[in-house]
Symmetry: C2
Subunit: 424 residues, 2 copies
């Protein structure tokens, strides 16, 4: 049954997109407030204008407003906040894949014929808690029997996966860092990114600080040397160091989906959603092989099949780099590279903005930030902007970026959702 080729009854396109600035906001700011910011950018992005009263439903990803904000039932609260009662609203939770799933379900709702115009989005306000408590909230997305009670948390889980990948394929710490360096560079070109500064800028700041304090001036010839300095890039869970980990942050994202047949009422540059895939996977303790996430492969099979494309057709991707190792897994499990070969492509710069297959153009979860419930739709926002050539200084210059995908992972891949986009 998993092999069945799935299709949607009706075409769907994205016609608007918006993002809040990602970062750490004060306690009084709510996820709903950040959603308003994303929604405002979305409204302005709809070329031919949008009467918000025409929106028929909100599909919202939010991982744990319960624990981060001591608030539930955020979907109608968000609708109320943007003045659109009695518009129906649904909250989705699939850990870090929450809004990728909300996006998929919005596509399905339009395909079903029930709606023509659906607002999909995500929001999370994580920084009310300190890092230890955030780590606890995220940790409970793990297996309640074998993982969390055994003291596993996400840095540890991905460190285990990274170690296995190193053992099997000879992946090195420098390979992981190359991903961090690329994503920080991309983030430095993204005004919405949490770390809108590049590692170069961190280096400069550290040098300036040393000079100010009359200390010997540090000598890092390049970013790689900086990241190899344990004082600058301490170990979180070996081999994952500080610059291998995505950020705890606050943010919101929004995309407007409409039935393909009315897309031109909103814009002459719709971005079509031609495939979507969703799968579950075992918890890590139960997997046969931990150097790959089967959920990604399953979800990719569904999405590629629906879109009638293969990995060789993909021209850009936003993937779930919650840790740098996860970007490698994504590249391999999506079939963009053979197992063990993503690293070679990374070394050769293929995933850079000017490479053959740009990945995480917006800085990824690493540098753009990872307000978990917002991340999945956040990726779609970037694909939308890139395909419309509205990505500013980080715009991919190649002209053939007509097919792209987002891969959004819940936890360690117990959920994976993939959406495929086409510019026609």
């Amino acid at each position: 049954m998993a092999q069945k080729k799935r299709k949607l009854g009706r075409g769907v396109a994205a016609v608007g997109a918006g993002l809040s600035k990602f970062g750490a906001y004060p306690k009084g700011v709510r996820a709903t407030d950040l959603f308003v910011e994303a929604f405002n950018e979305l409204k302005n992005s709809v070329d031919k204008g949008l009467d918000t009263k025409d929106i028929e439903a909100l599909y919202l990803g939010d991982c744990s407003s319960d624990l981060f904000e001591h608030q539930i039932h955020v979907a109608p609260a968000t609708v109320n906040r943007i003045g659109l009662i009695p518009m129906p609203a649904i909250r989705f939770e699939d850990a870090c894949a929450s809004s990728g799933v909300a996006f998929r379900e919005g596509v399905i709702a339009i395909a079903s014929g029930i709606y023509d115009i659906v607002l999909v989005g995500g929001a999370e306000k994580m920084t009310n808690l300190d890092t230890a408590h955030v780590t606890d909230v995220l940790g409970i997305a793990l297996d309640p029997d074998a993982e969390f009670p055994a003291g596993e948390t996400f840095p540890g889980i991905y460190a285990t996966i990274a170690t296995a990948h190193m053992a099997k394929y000879g992946t090195t710490l420098e390979d992981f860092m190359r991903i961090g360096i690329k994503n920080h560079y991309n983030g430095s070109l993204n005004p919405k990114a949490h770390f809108d500064a590049s590692i170069q800028q961190f280096m400069k700041r550290r040098v300036a600080s040393a000079v100010r304090k009359g200390l010997p001036e540090p000598h890092w010839a390049n970013e790689m040397e900086f990241l190899n300095d344990p004082a600058q890039n301490p170990i979180i869970a070996w081999p994952m160091r500080l610059f291998d980990c995505s950020t705890i942050c606050d943010g919101a994202s929004a995309v407007l989906l409409v039935a393909e047949d009315i897309a031109r009422n909103f814009t002459d540059k719709p971005i079509h959603v031609i495939g979507t895939g969703l799968a579950s996977d075992y918890f890590v303790a139960e997997r046969e092989d931990i150097t790959s996430i089967k959920g990604t492969k399953e979800a990719a099979r569904e999405a590629y099949g629906m879109a009638n494309v293969g990995p060789q057709d993909i021209k850009m991707a936003e993937v779930h780099d919650c840790f740098t190792i996860a970007e490698i897994l994504a590249m391999e499990d999506l079939g963009l590279y053979k197992p063990g070969e993503a690293v070679k492509a990374i070394r050769e710069g293929e995933s850079r903005l000017d490479g053959k297959l740009p990945i995480n153009m917006d800085g990824g979860l690493k540098a753009k930030g990872h307000p978990i419930g917002a991340s999945g739709v956040g990726m779609a926002v970037e694909i939308f902007k890139q395909m419309r050539e509205e990505a500013g200084p980080r715009q991919v210059k190649r002209k053939d970026i007509d097919l792209g995908l987002t891969q959004n992972v819940g936890a360690h891949g117990a959920t994976v959702v993939i959406n495929i986009f086409e510019r026609r």
Copy 2:
């Protein structure tokens, strides 16, 4: 736009249903364990047999595993628990309407053509927390500005609504009690109900206990007198007393939905889902009129329109009696009775099992119990069993019960979801 008549691209039918026993389970029992119990009953209910590997997705309602069980990402955990990895899974949260929404989205997914066979359900394990903490968890489904910070909790909110209804329509405490008496009677006929005992049995027990202790034997001529005794039915938030409030409990529910065109592969008695409606409403503090829930009217308009039926066609209903007053609001807002006239029907016994329009045949949230994430699909399970004449001692005897609905409310109606069922 809200007036638009919506339709689904493809017919959907329920072909199996199951429920766990509702009640208070020990701490070690998880919501996922209860889901297994519901799923097992569902499997046995599929007349022509079910190969579980054919199920394509799980749509699961769960209100706050986060706060009740310190666990998130329960959808893939549930799939793992029933041995169906890599089947995709999604968790829905819309407060007490979580699984009613999961049901609707399962219907929409099949209508879209993406799936043919979808498992919808809900689960909640509330009793790990004491009543005060459960009240807090539920309270955060209220408005974060005007309601919860002002000290509002659900008994208080519904008490306010009840008082307004009394003032406007002359509704009395005895009217509320009539609903409690009916629902407890129905629950006493339902082996899955949390309160599978009737108020008559509570009375008998109290008399026996007094006799045992050598106290004067209490004299309640009937249930109404028993419930008017403040010692037996203390005030929770006037005019809502103990027997006006639904129960805090644990439970799970499951329904198997399939595309109409393959329903006969599973059973000769499919129950068709012919309409669904979903709407949001303002928080209570912002409503023009609190004797009615506009969200119910909006959702009903969508659902009736889709089903091409009107309230006059409905032959039975499962409605969201989180408090007895809520059953009155439902009867009126669904258009089954004119505003202020539900009470007359209740007095005349119309909503009893042997009445003209049976309501909450399974005991409702009042007596069957209200494990919040499980309640919406729990209502659908009852409609399924009644329409197939498999409801045992509480089976409605009338032969014309060919059209029924479920009305599932999130919080005070900030979310309302309605699903309409037909036996052909």
